[in-house]
Every structure is written in structure tokens, then in C-alpha cells.
């Protein structure tokens, strides 16, 4: 009976209303551009028009009252001129050498934002041009050395078994090359901050961001101030998708530098869409080469993979993006011999950065396209080939990680096929397509996505979450993890409410503010629910334990008992607080030097099926149906979870068929929503989302991370379906009608 009651009061797994939903729907939520301060100035960034060069002179055009403007150059920086992240190579403002188009050189502030814009255009630079490089090929060939000694930000090598020995015994050796393009995150709210900075009070920044402590770290170095003099507050944030992981450190620094020069007057910088698209980070373009050895039974013998990503002009997060891409490059398959060589290289384009999936969509695209080719060569169906090679409990991944959970990829595949009538459609479409101007196809991808930071990343982060209970029994959760539209606050509250067995409404989540929340790590890497959520659970349990240990709360209690116990505790001992710090689950080992071991604490496993039509009149491919099936440990909030999957799949459809960054001299030409084409609701099919649950022992209520997963499978599933429809193998995304036409006309 008591079990029954427990289940009924459980909030995890229920579609409770979003914590911030009402404020957003009614317009009461205040985003950064809604905020205004007394005496506030507006800031603007003057950027380089050229991709590479040396600045000779800065010129201020005639006809503007320059003495009214706050002007900041690299010479005004009080601390170090670098955006502190992993390396210290990227300057806040160019002092001499320009390394990419749109690189910030000078900052302006004025109370009249329209006049400011006029002034921005009146500043020009006399630049001695230097030869730029724009592609990863040019970078690898060292056409120019633009970074370090060899243009290489980072390389990894993964070795499992001995791949050199397999080629001789292989019945089949299959090679392929695969490419993915840049992609803009296109969050609804562009980047924006307000800063107040002066020597006495220090630096305070409000803004739209994913990672307040990243900004905090960057400002420490920029201003050379002690920690307590820097305060970063996240305001309501309209989407991030990784695009607000590292970039806010840049714009926050710029606003703070202007405020500092203006003697502490508040300075607001808001990018418009054009600036946000042209100047901020995008998904890393990639090239993957596969060489695969298979025996006549269709068993994988060896995989040699070369994975290269274009990092743009500065190191930023490229090494970690490369890491995730590398680890996911061999997929959910059991292959005894694997070698992966991976490189992140420099080019003279704005730095590429974090974007949902973080390298994995690139390498998974290559693998899942390649395996369809391998299956064809071996003479098996794509499904049968994968079935013979799926990984199982007890087997090892490319990094030698022993899978300790009961993985059932065959089961996922079977269910996904049932949901889509895959087998029947596969045969029917192939028969019916001949001579039709609308050709249909169906394809799939099977994959996994690791949750949390890679390798020892979580140990290094040592994330902390706090919980405090007031006299009224209300519980306030303290974390730097941000609500950016994905539902962090709601999920944290659900987890805490269940841990404490009290009303959901009693839980609130503090606004992330580095002056009063602990560092629970960045809001990235599908870690917020699984890693930080677990810390929320234990911090909440800490409150309960304290009350029970002090005899204020009995074993079985109601919400009223809880309130009473909190009141008594506060009266007797003051505010009730509990903190919890990350400890790795037992048996997790990672060797950073060899790149071997347990790359992630847990993986979500998935099979996605796409059905397409290709219009032979217009060469347009259209996704007609999409099934996303995944095993995620535990669904904490069914509506939010399905929303994550639907949104990720829509983004993946954009990545696959629509979103093409048009580059000219290292600069995005189509930096407007009219010409950078994201799919509309008219372009998106019904996205049918299904979950399976295999609780993960170290996730809150068994949950694993799912934020990035849905970005991974769409591209290969869709291109596999297009190959099925047309008989033509396409190996790059975005795949636009123009490229479809070329290939289809060649085969015709």
C-alpha cells in the first residue's frame, strides 16, 4: 500500500507545469533587452572587414561628435587581453593581428543607440593584408601557418586492438569520405549583456548565457580582479544550443570594458540578428574518412577513422568538441580493432564552437552513412549488417569502455521498424519508384550519445549544488545551471520534490548569480539532468537527513510535517542548508594520455527512422515521417523530454537539408533569416517520439542525459533514405536541391 502511495505522489515522470512557464507566456519574463538602468549607455563592436592582416591605423570618420563616445581599444584593457577558456589565444580586441573577418577591434558606447550605429560605420581600419586560409584542407596542407607551429589546435589518437593487422585477413575493405557544414544555432534571443564595472565596486554582468562561471572566469583575467569582485548573473535566456556556452564571455567582457572606461556607467550590448549570425560561433565543419575491414560473415574486423574539424581562428572549445566527436566516431558497435586519428585545425574564419551534439553529429553522420555503404558491399541489408555488429553488455567501445548496462540495440531497431513499417516500405518503395517523379525512400541510423563531460571532465569540474530550506518550508535550490528554455528549473524542482516527498510548488530554483550560487558546472553536454540533477537530489536529501537526524522530522511525514520541521529548525539553528559535490560513480576510469577508458558515465541509445520523398522536378528532398526512439534511463518530464527530441530532430533536419552557411572570404554572406534557411513547420514532418527506460543507477530517478542526442541521428537517417529513394549515395550535408540535381542528372 505505501508503495502505491509513493508512486501516486511522485512528480518525476509527470508533465507538471513549467516553473517559468507562466511568466514567459504572459510576457512578464524579463530578458536582457527588457532591462534598463539609470544612465545606461549602449555599446557596439567595430569589427574587421578582412579575414587576416595587420592593423596599421584606426580612422575615425568626419561628422560625428567623437568626444561624446566612449572608445575602447586593446590598450584600455586593465588585465590580460585574452578570453580565458581552455587556452589563452583569443584576444578580446585585436591589438595588431587580425585572424578572422568580424574580429572585434574597437568598442564604442553612447547613450543614443542610433547615433552609435552611425559611429560604428564611421570607424575604419587601414590594414596590411596577410594571406588567409579558409578550408581544413588548406590548413592541413599548411598553405599558411596561422596558428601555433602547424595549424593544429588538438589531435587525439584512439587505439583498440591492432588495426594494422586486420587488412590482410579482411574479405572486404570499404573506404569512404564524409563531410558536414557549419550550422548556426539560431536561438530566438540574440546574445546580449549589461555590465557595470569600476575599480571600486568591481564588475557585474547580467546577460543571456548558459555558463555564468565561464563568464566569471574570463572576466577575472580580463580585469585582473579578485574573485569576489566579479559577479555574473544570468537573466532569462531565450535559447542557447551551445551558442551561449563560450560566446557570452566575449560580449560580457566588451560591455564591461566600456563600462570601466565610462567610469562605471551601465553599458548594454545587444547583437542584432545579422551581427549574431556573422560574428558568433557555429557548428564545426568536418571531414571524416573511413576505412573498414569486414569478413564474409558481415562482422566488423577493423575500423580506421580520420576525423578532422575546422575550428576557425582560435582554439576556443575545439579540443573538447573534437574529443566528443572522436569518441562517438565508432558508434554503438563491437569492433575489436579501431584506430581513430582526430585533428582540430585552424582557419581564418570566426571560431566555431559549441552546438548541440558537440562533434558527435559530425562523426556519427559519417559512420552511419558509411555503414550503409559497407552493408551494400558485403551484400547485407543495412539493418542486418548492424544487427551483426551491435554492441552488448560486457563488450567494449572504441576507447575500451566496458558496457555495464543491458544495451538492447536489436530491440530498439525492431521496435523502430515496427513503428514505421520499415521493412514493408523498404521493399514497396523500391518497386514503385521506377519512372515516378516523386520518389520515396526510408532509412535509419542507430547511435548512442554519452551524457556529461568526457573522460575525467566531471571529476575536474567538481560541481556543487546547494539546497536551503526556510522557516516556511520552502526549498530553494542553488545551482549555476541555467534555464535556457529546455526546462532545467522544472526538472530540478521535480527531482527535489520527489527526494523530499513534498509539494512541487514548495521548490524554487534560485536565479544563477555567481555571488550566491555554487558552481554546478556549465549547462552543456547533456549533463544538467543526469549529473547536476543527481546533485540536486542529494543536496535535497541532505536537508531531510538533517531534519531527521535532529529529531525534527519523523520517517513518514506530510508536507505540513515538513513545514513544521523546517520552522523549528530555523528557530533553533537558523537557515537550513545542504550542499552536495560530484563524486564519480565507482569503477569509472579514464586515461587521458592514451585516450582509453570510461569516456562517459552513461549513454543514451537510439534508433531514428526517416522517410523521404525526392521530387525529381525540383530535386527537393522532403522528410515525410520521422520516428525517434531512444532509451534514456528515465523520462523525468514527458512533455519537456519529447520537446527536446522534437526540437533536436527539427534542428537535425535543418542541418541535413536546409541550413547552408554561404561563405565568402571567410565571412558568412547569408547572415539573415531570409537567406539562411531553417525549416519552418511546413517543412517538418510529424516527429514521432518514443522512449524506453532502463534506469541508470547514478542518475536522478534513473535518468540519463538527452539534450544533444536528437541532433545525432537525423542527418544519416535522412541521407540513407534519400539513397534508398534515388539510388544515389550522398555523403555531405547540407544536401541542397542543387547538389541533388547535379548527382541525379549525372546518373540519369
Amino acid at each position: 500500500m505505501s508503495n502505491q502511495t509513493d508512486t501516486q505522489t511522485k512528480i518525476v515522470g509527470k508533465p507538471v507545469p513549467r516553473k517559468e512557464g507562466r511568466a514567459k507566456v504572459t510576457g512578464a519574463a524579463r530578458y536582457i533587452d527588457d532591462l534598463r538602468m539609470d544612465g545606461m549607455l549602449y555599446g557596439a563592436t567595430v569589427r574587421s572587414a578582412v579575414p587576416r592582416g595587420r592593423i596599421r591605423e584606426i580612422k575615425f570618420g568626419a561628422g560625428l561628435p567623437w568626444d561624446e563616445f566612449v572608445v575602447v581599444t586593446a590598450a584600455d584593457i586593465p588585465g590580460e587581453n585574452c578570453v580565458a577558456l581552455i587556452l589563452l589565444d583569443q584576444p578580446y580586441l585585436v591589438a595588431k593581428f587580425i585572424n578572422h573577418a568580424e574580429e572585434p577591434i574597437l568598442l564604442l558606447a553612447h547613450a543614443d543607440k542610433h547615433l552609435l550605429e552611425k559611429a560604428r560605420r564611421a570607424v575604419t581600419f587601414d590594414v596590411e593584408p596577410l594571406s588567409p586560409i579558409f578550408t581544413l584542407e588548406e590548413s592541413l596542407a599548411k598553405k599558411e601557418i596561422i596558428w601555433g607551429e602547424d595549424n593544429i589546435f588538438k589531435s587525439y589518437q584512439v587505439n583498440k586492438g591492432n588495426v594494422d593487422e586486420v587488412w590482410a585477413q579482411a574479405d572486404f575493405i570499404i573506404e569512404g569520405e564524409y563531410r558536414t557544414g557549419a550550422q548556426e544555432q539560431l536561438y530566438i534571443e540574440p546574445n546580449g549583456v549589461i555590465a557595470v564595472a569600476n575599480a571600486d565596486a568591481g564588475v557585474t554582468v547580467w546577460g543571456s548565457m548558459q555558463c555564468p562561471y565561464y563568464v566569471h572566469k574570463a572576466l577575472l583575467k580580463l580585469f585582473a580582479l579578485p574573485e569576489e569582485k566579479i559577479r555574473v548573473i544570468q537573466t532569462e535566456t531565450g535559447g542557447g544550443f551551445g551558442g551561449k556556452e563560450e560566446y557570452p564571455s566575449m560580449i560580457a567582457g566588451h560591455a564591461a570594458l566600456l563600462s570601466w572606461k565610462a567610469g562605471g556607467r551601465p553599458v548594454k550590448i545587444i547583437y542584432d540578428r545579422a551581427e549574431d549570425m556573422v560574428a558568433t560561433t557555429k557548428r564545426h565543419p568536418s571531414r571524416t574518412r573511413h576505412r573498414t575491414a569486414v569478413n564474409k560473415d558481415g562482422k566488423l574486423l577493423g575500423m580506421e577513422i580520420e576525423f578532422v574539424i575546422d575550428g576557425g581562428a582560435y582554439a576556443t572549445l575545439s579540443s573538447v568538441v573534437l574529443s566528443r566527436g572522436t569518441i562517438h566516431a565508432a558508434g554503438p558497435y563491437n569492433c575489436p580493432n579501431v584506430r581513430i586519428n582526430a585533428h582540430a585545425v585552424a582557419t581564418n574564419v570566426p571560431p566555431h564552437g559549441a552546438f548541440r551534439g558537440f562533434g558527435a553529429p559530425q562523426s556519427i553522420f559519417a559512420l552511419e552513412r558509411h555503414l550503409d555503404k559497407v552493408a551494400q558491399v558485403v551484400g547485407l541489408s543495412p539493418a542486418e549488417f548492424r544487427r551483426r555488429n551491435f554492441i552488448h553488455e560486457g563488450e567494449t567501445t572504441a576507447t575500451g569502455q566496458v558496457i555495464r548496462e543491458p544495451v538492447d540495440m536489436e530491440g530498439l531497431l525492431a521496435r523502430a521498424f515496427e513503428l514505421t513499417d520499415y521493412q514493408a516500405k523498404r521493399e514497396r518503395f523500391a518497386r514503385a519508384n521506377e519512372g515516378r517523379s516523386l520518389k520515396r525512400g526510408i532509412g535509419f541510423a542507430s547511435f548512442m550519445h554519452g551524457a556529461g563531460f568526457t573522460g575525467s571532465g566531471e571529476v575536474y569540474l567538481q560541481s556543487i549544488v546547494g539546497a536551503e530550506a526556510g522557516a516556511d518550508g520552502r526549498v530553494r535550490l542553488l545551482a549555476a545551471s541555467t534555464e535556457i528554455g529546455q526546462g532545467t528549473n522544472t526538472i530540478f524542482a521535480q527531482i527535489a520534490a520527489d527526494a523530499l516527498q513534498i509539494d512541487f510548488d514548495l521548490i524554487e530554483v534560485a536565479q544563477p548569480d555567481t555571488s550566491n550560487v555554487p558552481n554546478s558546472g556549465p549547462t552543456v553536454a547533456s549533463r544538467t539532468t543526469m549529473i547536476v540533477g543527481k546533485l540536486v537530489e542529494s543536496a535535497a536529501l541532505g536537508l531531510k537527513q538533517t531534519l531527521q537526524n535532529s529529531g525534527l522530522l519523523k520517517a513518514n511525514y506530510t508536507t505540513d510535517d515538513w513545514r513544521a520541521a523546517c520552522r523549528r529548525h530555523v528557530e533553533q539553528f537558523g537557515l537550513l542548508k545542504s550542499f552536495s559535490q560530484y563524486k564519480p560513480p565507482p569503477g569509472i576510469n579514464w586515461d587521458e594520455g592514451k585516450y582509453q577508458g570510461d569516456a562517459y558515465g552513461a549513454y543514451a541509445w537510439a534508433v531514428y527512422v526517416a522517410e523521404v520523398t525526392v521530387d525529381m522536378l525540383t530535386y527537393e528532398a522532403r522528410v515525410e515521417d520521422f520516428v525517434a526512439l531512444q532509451e534514456v534511463g528515465k523520462v523525468v518530464h514527458p512533455v519537456l523530454a519529447a520537446g527536446q527530441i522534437e526540437g533536436g530532430v527539427a534542428q537535425a533536419i535543418g542541418f541535413t537539408l536546409y541550413e547552408n552557411v554561404v561563405w565568402s572570404e571567410g565571412r558568412m554572406l547569408n547572415n539573415q533569416m531570409t537567406n539562411y534557411i531553417i525549416p519552418t513547420s511546413a517543412d517538418i514532418p510529424p516527429i514521432r517520439v518514443y522512449f524506453e527506460e532502463q534506469p541508470y543507477a547514478y542518475g536522478p530517478a534513473g535518468a540519463k542525459g538527452i539534450g544533444e542526442l536528437p541532433m545525432d541521428g537525423g542527418a544519416p537517417a535522412i541521407l540513407n533514405a534519400i539513397e534508398h529513394a534515388t539510388g544515389v549515395a550522398f555523403n555531405h550535408v547540407p544536401l541542397l536541391p542543387e547538389a541533388l540535381m547535379q548527382a541525379l542528372n549525372q546518373t540519369a
Binding site: K113, H114, L115, E117, K118, R121, D272, A274, S437, M616, L617, T618, Y619, E620, Y658, V662, L669, N670, Q672, T674, N675, I677, P679, T680, A682, D683, P737, E738, M741, Q742, N745
Partner: protein, 288 residues
């Protein structure tokens, strides 16, 4: 907003007469501002180089759809939404409704005007190919008088128009002689909605005794202006529709249009798709 607003001037004359007087007083000084769906985008991006504008949005003389015996007259301020709602337009000029439905989103359709779509002179505009098929005529008015011009003679080059700087486009006249045309409209954009066209194809034809008695082909985004493809029409007239005719017509069309590579697509793609749509149109025509 990348524009410095104090640099701009916007006047709202009380009547058409006042508007024309202002245009006559400073020829080239003022430009008409109707729904603003193109101009506001340029203003926001800081790319609106002209500074003095004349708002005509409220002028009653430029509004409304009038149906007479032999033609329908559309005020230059007729919106895409009005085009879609009007019964006569739906019945007799379906290509225009189809174009209006695919122009922007609902907000744009409520605000964007046919006159604006014409004088903005974009070769990628959605409604001009339909207007060309229907042999539309334009009424241009200035203090010097009124003239009527076949729309076909209006666009003279990329963003070049047969229109004086003191003139206003006031009306669009459609002869009511096309109600029985078999029509075909296909906008191939960069996505299904809210897109600028890569190829826009509007066509109409009449069959007589298995032969093509009348055919009109008009395309957008394939030349410096929207175009009527008269040579291909000539080739098709009086022909039966078979493989040889279709092939010859495709080839003629591909010589008659002059698309370019741009941010949205390639010349090659536009040529091929235009030819495919022509073949599709002829196939459908044959089977009706």
C-alpha cells in the same frame, strides 16, 4: 535597427493630388512607401539608401478591387490577403491567388501590396509572373496625366522600370479574357513557406482540337527581370503535345532565360528546374 532614423523623412500626403504634387515638385526626391514589407527590411539592416519617403498606405484612391465588364481593376495597394479573398479573383485569376498565398507569412500578406511587389522590381517577386500571364496593364499617374502601359513593357532591366520619377503606380488592370485558361503555378523556394523563390513558374494555356491554341509562360528568378517567354510560346503555339514538342520547348526555354548563380541557388539549377516545370505543365495540359 541599423538605420539612423533622424536621417530619414516620411511624409503622409492627404490625397493622391497632394502626393502627385509633391512628387512633381521634387522629381526623384521622394519615393512611395506602401506596405513597407521590402523597405522596412532594408531600413532595419541599415541598407535603405534613399532617405525621403512618401507614405501612400492610407490613400483611398489606390485601394480596392473593381470588377467591370471587360476587366478587373486592382488598386496598387491591394494586399495579398485581399487578392486571396476576392471571389472574382479566385475564379478568373487563380494564378494571382496562388502567388499571394505563397508570399511571405500572414503578416506580410496583410501588409504587402501588389503595387509594391511590382515597383520594388525584384526579379524574384512572386506575383509578377502571374500578372504577365494575365496580360496585366498598369496605370501610371502624374500631374502630367495618366498613361496605361502593358505590364510586359514595364521592367526594362535589373531594377529598371519604365516609370518616371514623378509617377505613381495607381492601378493594375486585368482583362477578363483568361478565365478559361488552364493554369499552372509553381514557386520553387528555399523552403515550403516564408521563402524567396529560386524559380517561379506561372503559365496558362488553351487547347483546341488537341493543339495548343494559346499559351503564356512567365518566370521569375531566372533573368534580371521577371519574363514572358515569348519564343517558347511561339514554338508551342498550334503544336500537339508530344515528346518532341516538349523537348524542343525545354531547349528553347533554356536559351530564353538567363539565370545566374547567387546566394540562394545556381544558374544550372534554375535552368533545369524551369525546363522540368515546363515539361510538367505540358504533361498536365495534355491530360486535361
Amino acid at each position: 535597427m541599423r538605420a539612423y532614423l533622424p536621417d530619414y523623412e516620411l511624409r503622409a500626403p492627404r490625397s493622391l493630388t497632394d502626393a502627385l504634387a509633391l512628387l512633381a515638385r521634387e522629381p526623384g526626391g521622394w519615393r512611395a512607401f506602401a506596405g513597407g514589407t521590402d523597405l522596412m527590411v532594408l531600413l532595419e539592416a541599415g541598407l535603405l539608401t534613399h532617405r525621403k519617403f512618401l507614405s501612400i498606405w492610407h490613400l483611398p484612391e489606390l485601394k480596392g478591387i473593381e470588377v467591370a465588364n471587360d476587366h478587373v481593376t486592382l488598386g496598387a495597394l491591394t494586399t495579398y490577403t485581399e487578392v486571396q479573398r476576392d471571389e472574382t479573383m479566385r475564379r478568373e485569376f487563380p494564378l494571382l491567388g496562388a502567388a499571394a498565398r505563397e508570399t511571405g507569412g500572414i503578416a506580410i500578406q496583410n501588409r504587402g501590396t501588389l503595387g509594391g511587389n511590382i515597383v520594388n522590381a525584384s526579379p524574384a517577386a512572386d506575383s509578377p509572373p502571374a500578372l504577365l500571364v494575365y496580360d496585366a496593364e498598369l496605370e501610371l499617374v502624374s500631374t502630367r496625366g495618366t498613361r496605361l502601359l502593358p505590364y510586359r513593357e514595364f521592367h526594362t532591366g535589373y531594377k529598371q522600370m519604365n516609370m518616371q520619377s514623378d509617377e505613381l503606380l495607381t492601378r493594375i488592370r486585368l482583362p477578363r479574357t483568361t478565365g478559361d485558361l488552364k493554369t499552372y503555378y509553381r514557386k520553387v523556394g528555399t523552403r515550403k513557406a516564408q521563402a524567396i523563390s529560386k524559380v517561379c513558374f506561372a503559365a496558362g494555356a488553351r487547347m483546341n482540337d488537341g493543339r495548343i491554341a494559346d499559351v503564356r509562360l512567365a518566370l521569375g528568378s531566372v533573368a534580371p527581370t521577371v519574363v514572358r517567354c515569348t519564343q517558347t510560346e511561339e514554338l508551342l503555339r498550334n503544336q500537339t503535345i508530344d515528346e518532341a514538342t516538349t523537348k524542343a520547348a525545354r531547349e528553347m526555354l533554356m536559351t530564353e532565360i538567363t539565370p545566374i548563380d547567387d546566394m540562394r541557388s545556381t544558374a544550372d539549377y534554375r535552368l533545369n528546374v524551369a525546363a522540368n516545370l515546363l515539361a510538367d505543365f505540358l504533361r498536365q495540359l495534355k491530360h486535361t
